[in-house]
């Protein structure tokens, strides 16, 4: 008997037409009260998966269980699942109050009970006093809160979010996402969240499910995904990464002329070395501040371009093994100029080995 899960997908498949497989035999179990994010580039099947959980998209194969009840064939309006839409989808011809009361009225809640619950829901999202407004008279952030209240008021078994922040500007997006996270944790509502923005996913999720080509590439906490990506796709999609050909001998990794210690378990032989840009350390090639631990050596290179970004600088480096991106913070960010010869070393915390090629899945 598997552990209890408010949402469980078993071999869920979605085909469009005969040939296009949007979601391919997906298995997923969601822990009660957690916020799970489906993350991936556009066309990876994340939105389709969310819409199948919602019941808005018919399933081609497999089954969907909510609270251990098979809902695969249950219509969307009977699933007791609500959704916050990218466009908010507030009914433009109804006031804020009527929007929030909409689902309650369908559930035959009326009178004082209705008014109380609408008021509670609006209070939860900090929108008291705007009940009579029309949605058109609200700002984007306010509309988003009303949409959230409208979903919360029904106390659904699962709350779904379909890229809810993508219509907000950058600053507001940070604030609203924090509000959503706080609210979700406070109320303990099991939530599934879809986004293509990895920063948003890292900030908000208990668990991230990285999808590509209709399949799950990796699933885990934000920290796990960042520090131990399962493959090249995940490594590249979560944060950014350099990939270099290397070789592992059981205790150290050799990349070109550069050798450094590596202690995590990994089969010996050829490997793809993933290096986060912020783990790339630079020293001037004139030897004035050569890295310590002489045996490790370094990777020689030269600065190809410098982009000054304020708190950090992004340097593109030419090395015998190809181009390498590095992110330099602190004082070093303005030290190197285009054409400077540099000695490159890595912080081992930002290095991770992948099987050669790095394309293998889980």
């Amino acid at each position: 008997m598997p552990a209890p899960a408010p949402v469980r997908l078993e071999g869920v498949t979605k085909k469009f037409g005969q040939d296009v497989v949007a979601v391919d035999r997906l298995d997923l179990a969601i822990t009660p009260g957690s916020l799970v994010t489906l993350l991936g580039p556009s066309g990876c099947g994340k939105t389709t998966t969310l819409r199948m959980i919602a019941g808005l998209e018919p399933v081609s194969g497999g089954s969907i269980l909510i609270d251990d009840q098979d809902v695969t064939r249950l219509a969307a309006n009977h699933r007791d699942v609500t959704m916050v839409f990218q466009s908010y989808a507030l009914f433009p011809h109804m006031s804020v109050f009527d929007n929030v009361a909409y689902g309650l009225r369908i559930a035959k809640v009326s009178g004082a009970e209705l008014a109380r619950r609408v008021k509670d829901a609006l209070a939860t999202v900090g929108m008291v006093g705007l009940e009579k407004r029309s949605p058109a008279a609200l700002s984007g952030g306010q509309q988003q809160r009303v949409a959230l209240a409208r979903s919360l008021v029904l106390e659904p078994r699962v709350l779904l979010f379909d890229e809810p922040l993508s219509n907000l500007d950058a600053k507001l997006r940070r604030r609203v996402r924090q509000e959503i996270r706080d609210l979700q944790q406070r109320l303990g509502i099991t939530s599934v969240y879809v986004t293509h923005d990895q920063e948003e996913a890292l900030a908000i999720s208990d668990t991230i499910v990285v999808m590509q080509g209709g399949r799950i590439q990796q699933q885990g906490s934000p920290h796990e995904l960042y520090t131990q990506p399962a493959n090249r796709f995940v490594a590249d999609f979560i944060g950014s990464a350099n990939f270099l050909p290397g070789e592992y001998d059981g205790s150290s990794v050799r990349v070109g002329p550069y050798r450094f210690a590596y202690e995590q378990a990994f089969p010996k032989g050829a490997a793809t070395v993933m290096v986060r840009p912020e783990a790339v350390r630079l020293a001037s090639a004139d030897g004035t501040d050569a890295p310590g631990g002489g045996e490790a050596g370094f990777l020689p290179g030269s600065v190809k371009s410098v982009s000054y970004l304020g708190i950090t600088s992004e340097l593109l480096l030419d090395t015998p093994l190809g181009e390498l991106a590095s992110s330099v913070s602190g004082e070093g960010r303005s030290r190197f100029l285009r054409g400077d010869a540099v000695q490159i070393t890595f912080h081992t915390a930002g290095v991770y080995l992948l099987p050669e090629g790095g394309e293998a899945g889980l």
Binding site: L74, N77, T82, F85, A89, F91, A107, S151, E155, L187
Partner: protein
């Protein structure tokens, strides 16, 4: 917040309502007569009580209905319940329908009611069993609209086809061939003329062949294209020869269509360019006003007033120019009437593609060094071509389908649309009428097909992203002057025609006795106004189902996925494409006897209006749905709403404007229609346009003019009211888009 107070079992009650429908179907079967002896609908004839009907198997209907009711209430798994409902409901429906069709008994109230209720039961079944991925409301709606389109659009057309090739119960092409060989259909060699038309036509075909062949040699075409183009040239020569020298309905209609469509398209293009690029605001404003005229005017009214103005005793021809000639009775007159009537249609179509032209494209061409003419030839013209072709083909179709103008001004020539009516009403030959109907339908559908195939791929209108709002280069001075004069002449003619109708209603007898009088208006209050009010009532009654059904079909076609969606769309648009006379003869043939006996009643008039005007509402609905973000419906669904509730609480309030427009256009079109209803009117169910046409034919011109004035003015008021309404509520649709 308190936890979990929403009941999970929101699915309860669904089986219950299916049981109610099934039981109601059984009750309707038992309590109301299943058939009726004759035309009256509301009879309680005991002969058609189920126990008096000598067909024991008919009792399967209530039995199966009860089985469905039991299945709906029994604790079955949803899937099996759905299957039982589907098969029991469909079985009961078939039993009833088969009895009606095999015994050819006109349906009674019991049959109508129980069959409709059974459709709902099947809808529940299809929804619960998952065969249709939608809730019972949508599933039932799909079934209902599908059956209605089948019964009231497809079945009549099939009947026409059948009437043309089945004589005395046997399939034969004899009638078809015989009709096609009559002089009325086509006459090449006219024995009353000294020249040989056959030879002339042959020369034209030969000339076309030779010219096309020469062209292929000159342009060095590959062998296969040489053959095809040469043959095409020969065919074109043949057609031109026939148009010039042959007589009969086919050459006449063809000549008329080519002349009317060419001139109307050119005028439409000129006016569209003028409207966009002229300095004179007044011209722009009046163009808009003129484009409304054909909507509010019955198509033949202009033909009628042309007699006042240009006829034997016409104001312009006789009183001013002193000519007394019958030139307007024949192709020139009909062509002129059609040009006047269809130019606004061509203008509206072309205006769309002219408006989509991006000024930046022409500016880009100019900055690249092109002359004005070169720019027009290489940029403007190719972009306009699809719009022009569209306007041309639409006016060709309108011209072929036009019934009123050829009837009044046709003279001694025959036309396809009028021959359908003359064969039926003057020669009492239903089969011949059906043959003409089939030919006309074939021609029109062929043009529609060409339009869809050809223009479906080559529309540039949507290619550019945002149309820039920059000012266009002015038209060259000479061209603008020519267009302005052309528009002034056109406007003067139209104003004169409308004015002469109004004036004609106040003179004793046009062209003979010019004394002013109110006699015709007094006559009208006795003879015309009751019919006018009756027509208003029928038009209003038919407008409601036309608008609602059109909206529902638009919803199903745009927002739902189901098997046969395309067919439903095609079927419902078919009634729009079919010429009115063809639909008229089809209704008479299909609903005159048998299970669907409807003729000689107001019901058949209402039904013909509903299905004729519904496509206008469908188009309006489709355009409206395109403006409403789908996520609004999805949000409503996610909040627990059924699709019917979503339709009622979200979509209808947001789409009030398209629905009301559909309602009003359906009403106005019903008030001004002639070609279809002239077949289905009956004594006691007389309509304004038919009465008016009769008066024109009898020469009661004053009275007819008074009726025409009343009709035009009242429709103008209705359209103005609609304009006022949409302008005031216009903001709402705008907000929806955001």
């Amino acid at each position: 917040m308190s936890v979990r107070s929403i009941p999970h079992a929101r699915t309860k009650g669904r089986g219950g309502s299916a049981a109610v429908y099934a039981l109601a179907a059984a009750a309707a079967f038992l309590l109301l007569p299943f058939g009726r002896p004759g035309r009256p609908f509301l009879t309680l004839d005991p002969a058609f009580r189920p126990w008096n009907i000598d067909a024991p198997w008919l009792w399967l209907l209530p039995v199966l209905a009860l089985v469905a009711a039991a299945a709906a209430l029994a604790p079955l798994p949803t899937l099996r319940r759905g299957n039982v409902l589907t098969f029991a409901g469909a079985g009961a429906f078939l039993v009833g329908a088969v009895w009606l069709v095999t015994t050819r008994t006109p349906f009674g109230m019991g049959a109508l009611l129980s069959l409709c209720l059974l459709v709902v039961v099947v809808g529940y079944g299809l929804s619960l069993s998952g065969r249709v991925r939608a809730d019972p409301f949508v599933a039932s709606s799909i079934l209902f609209t599908g059956l209605l389109v089948l019964l009231l659009v497809v079945y009549p057309l099939v009947t026409v086809l059948q009437a043309a090739v089945v004589v005395n119960g046997k399939f034969t092409l004899a009638k078809f061939v015989a009709t096609l060989q009559t002089n009325r259909f086509i006459l090449i060699e006219n024995p009353f003329t000294p020249r040989s038309e056959g030879a002339l036509v042959r020369y034209f075909a030969l000339a076309g062949l030779v010219l096309a062949f020469a062209w292929t040699l000159w342009r060095r075409q590959p062998a296969l294209r040489v053959v095809l183009i040469t043959l095409g040239g020969g065919l074109a020569g043949l057609v031109v020869g026939l148009m010039l020298f042959a007589r009969g309905a086919v050459p006449s209609s063809l000549t008329l269509a080519v002349i009317a469509a060419t001139v109307a398209t050119l005028l439409g293009l000129g006016f569209a360019l003028l409207g966009q690029r002229t300095r004179f605001r007044f011209v722009k404003a009046s163009l808009g006003a003129f484009s409304v005229l054909p909507i509010i005017t019955p198509p033949f009214i202009l033909a009628f007033s042309m007699i006042f103005l240009l006829g034997r005793r016409g104001l312009l021809t006789f009183d001013i120019l002193g000519i007394s000639s019958n030139w307007i009775f024949g192709i020139p007159g009909v062509a002129l009437a059609q040009i006047l009537a269809f130019t606004p249609i061509a203008y509206l179509v072309i205006q769309g593609s002219v408006a989509a032209l991006d000024a930046a494209l022409e500016e880009a061409s100019t900055t690249l060094g092109a002359s004005k003419w070169h720019t027009f030839r290489t940029v403007t013209w190719p972009l306009l071509r699809p719009g022009l072709a569209n306007a041309f083909l639409l006016t060709v179709i309108e011209s072929f389908a036009d019934f009123g103008n050829p009837l009044i001004l046709g003279g001694d020539r025959n036309y396809l649309a009028t021959e359908v009516f003359s064969a039926f009403a003057a020669r009492f030959d239903q089969a011949e009428a059906a043959v003409y109907g089939v030919v006309l339908l074939f021609v029109v559908l062929l043009v529609f097909y060409a339009q869809a195939r050809w223009l479906g791929r080559s529309s540039f209108v949507t290619v550019t992203g945002k149309p820039s709002r920059r000012a266009f280069t002015r038209l060259p001075g000479g061209l603008e002057a020519v267009l302005l004069v052309g528009f002034a002449v056109w406007a003067a003619v139209v104003v004169a025609l409308y004015a002469s109708i109004i004036y004609g209603s106040f003179v004793q007898l046009w062209g003979v006795n010019g004394t002013l009088t109110l006699k015709h208006w007094r006559d009208l209050t006795n003879a015309g106004v009751p019919v006018f009010l009756y027509t208003m009532r029928i038009a209003a009654i038919s407008a409601v189902p036309a608008a609602l059904l059109g909206f529902l079909i638009a919803y199903l076609v745009v927002r739902q996925e189901f098997w046969g969606r395309r067919l439903l769309e095609f079927g419902s648009m078919l009634s729009f494409a079919t010429p009115g006379t063809v639909m008229g003869i089809a209704y008479i043939l299909a609903f005159n006897t048998g299970p669907w006996l409807l003729t000689s009643s107001a019901v058949i008039i209402v039904l013909s209006f509903v299905f004729r005007n519904m496509p206008v509402a469908i188009r309006g609905g489709v355009a409206g749905f395109a403006q409403v973000d789908r996520s609004l419906e999805e949000a409503s669904t996610m909040l627990g709403s059924s699709s019917f509730r979503t339709l009622r609480t979200v979509l209808v309030p947001l789409l009030v404007i398209p629905i009301v427009s559909g309602l009003i256009f359906a009403f106005v079109r019903a008030m001004t229609a002639i070609s279809q209803v002239i077949f289905v009117v009956s004594p006691g169910n007389q309509l304004t346009t038919v009465l008016l046409l009769g008066w024109v034919e009898q020469g009661q011109t004053g009275r007819a003019a008074a009726m025409g004035t009343l009709l035009i003015v009242s429709m103008l008021v209705v359209i103005l009211l609609l304009n006022l309404l949409t302008r005031r509520r216009g903001g709402i649709t705008g907000e929806v888009v955001a």
